[in-house]
Symmetry: C2
Subunit: 384 residues, 2 copies
């Protein structure tokens, strides 16, 4: 196990009716910016619960944060925060709203050009406090300190993080996710699954707890995912999905171990160039990446085969093939295509993504730094 620091101060309120806890979590005199997406929270009752809990606090509402939250949209929220002296950000939505809220929290007090927080990795020295009401289990953003922001005008999608950006609290009421479209639930399952693999499927460093926790989350997603898609109002299955998605990226399984994240890096480029759903880019990249990187990942692939898919018989390569095939089949079973062709993306994108990453200086991806632009191209050609 490598040395690490683990710290996750977010307070989670989990379960039915927990949105009422907002009243306890926010200062009585907080000046709140309520950040939300397209307005589904007005239909499913979440908005009413939130406004009731907020009581008489002054609240400015900012709807319209899109999937893959956009810099230009968020800068409008930043202007409001500055103008109205907002002192608390409340995200009500999924990972995109959460990520957007983190950016607004950091950008509002930032002195320079906020884009530099992303493009130049400028350190976050100050941030507004933020809390969240989560309505979509997927990204883990409700209990981590990272965010990914897109800038459509420039075909960019970049990440940043800071310990100041952990939500002070997050409220996770599984019932508030019952009305999600199946496509979004499936995406969430696929996203969380990939988050685990990015931290787990590398090379072994004798991190027994992290490995077994990762395998636990994967098994829960495999078991509960189909249940919650089949019956969206099955509280137990949905609750297990919500809690699994949080643990997939609250940093607990990632401390002290090597991490990959090449699937995400490559996937972000596909979203930036062709607008694919984030989870769908992962489903396209992941099986091909595992195939191309199978030698470097051999030991963990065998462990994954045995402990997650119960594949223990046959030769090593056969087990690895079967584990990769099972991964692909899992995504397909969620209704998520695993080939570029499923989304009408031409094979030529392989070279284009490789060039983009190279231009960004991202020329040594993966846990061993051996995924060069040429390897990226190979992975995407295999995913055609």
């Amino acid at each position: 196990m490598e040395n690490f620091t683990f710290h996750n101060p977010t307070r989670i309120h989990f379960g039915r009716g927990q949105i009422a806890k907002l009243d306890r979590e926010l200062p009585a005199k907080a000046r709140v910016l309520l950040l939300a997406g397209g307005g589904s929270i007005r239909q499913n009752g979440v908005y009413d619960q939130v406004r009731t809990a907020l009581g008489n606090r002054p609240v400015i509402e900012f709807f319209g944060v899109e999937a893959n939250p956009d810099y230009d949209t968020l800068m409008k929220a930043v202007e409001i925060c500055r103008r109205e002296a907002v002192d608390w950000i409340l995200a009500v939505g999924g990972g995109s709203v959460l990520d957007g809220a983190k950016f607004v929290a950091a950008a509002t007090p930032f002195k320079g050009d906020p884009w530099d927080l992303l493009a130049k990795g400028e350190k976050v020295r100050e941030a507004l406090p933020l809390g969240a009401v989560l309505t979509l289990p997927a990204t883990g953003s409700e209990a981590n300190s990272a965010a990914v922001i897109s800038r459509r005008a420039r075909h960019e999608k970049l990440a940043f993080l800071s310990p100041l950006l952990f939500p002070r609290f997050s409220i996770l009421d599984p019932e508030s996710t019952f009305s999600l479209p199946a496509r979004q639930v499936a995406n969430g399952i696929g996203d969380a699954f990939c988050h685990v693999l990015e931290q787990y499927l590398t090379f072994p460093v004798n991190a027994a707890i992290q490995d077994r926790f990762a395998e636990s989350i994967l098994r829960v997603l495999i078991e509960e995912g189909p249940k919650t898609l089949a019956d969206p109002k099955d509280y137990a299955a949905r609750a297990n999905l919500v809690w699994a998605a949080t643990w997939a990226l609250n940093t607990a399984i990632g401390v002290g171990v090597p991490q990959d994240w090449a699937t995400h890096m490559i996937g972000h480029e596909l979203t930036a160039l062709h607008g694919l759903d984030h989870a769908r880019t992962l489903a396209v990249v992941l099986p091909s990446l595992l195939q191309v990187q199978r030698d470097g990942k051999r030991e963990k692939l065998l462990q994954y085969a045995a402990r997650v898919w119960d594949l223990r018989d046959g030769g090593e390569d056969a087990r690895i093939d079967a584990a990769i095939a099972a991964t692909r089949k899992f995504y397909e079973s969620l209704g998520i295509g695993t080939h570029l062709a499923d989304y009408g993306v031409p094979a030529g994108v392989a070279a284009e993504v490789a060039r983009q990453l190279e231009a960004r200086g991202a020329i040594k991806l993966g846990e061993r730094g051996d995924i060069t632009p040429a390897v990226v191209e190979k992975i995407l050609r295999l995913a055609a």
Copy 2:
């Protein structure tokens, strides 16, 4: 899954050489009380590392916190803190020192009789900040907000907790535990194992993540425990034990599920009456308790048999018998006797413990509240 709130703000620095981080964690002007046990930290190098990291800060040392930390001892530390205007507590030791530090942190600013924090459950409204350098993997106290304090003069052993008592930071360097006596390492493994079962082996509520994480920790203790006893300087095995013991009681596996803790409650009385090591009381009580409570715990016992001990064949009762026997055998393999007779404790203690618990008002123990004093007596008679 039941509703819950999960919050664990302790920052963990894990690994070789991490004691140096003390300098970053403590304010430059902190007035520190360094709380420690019998002095083993002077032999194993931990003390020197700690003092080097503390630099020129004013430090008052208080050695002599005993196993099952004693109220009268700790009140001497409280007096010093008050007299010397100490504003930070640094625990350097195992769970007893940690628990003692939590009591000192809460008792120092407490206005009334500090014993009421334990005996009357008085709320902790204020506490000195505390940090820890852990030298013994066992209790999980390094990352939770609870403590157990003994008062030998009155044969008492009582617990208390408060969110104000989470260590601000804990430093876990597996190397600093290499020199521990085998008996203490074995006790630590046995203690952590029981902590997991107290939160896991109850009745199912469809908490998939909590269950699988609990099973993960149990398997890691079963696999890594014997390794680290056989070769105390095997860094990987010791690191896995240290991290497993933290997760066994940092509340992650206990949220949203029923909890038992009857084994601990009964065990505390055995320690109070006969001075047995904490972990040894657990080893005595646990197998008998599982036997007596097997009907109420049936479903989880079968799950435990299958997922932790790979016992999947045969009838239900045979699998439950085998799982209880495996539990007993595990403790015995650590060199920990599982019968009262192993410690020269007479069978008459059964009635005595039952009376003690009754006098304390603890007459409905266990996750179903069905462990009455009569059941306690039955459990201990079976453990003779």
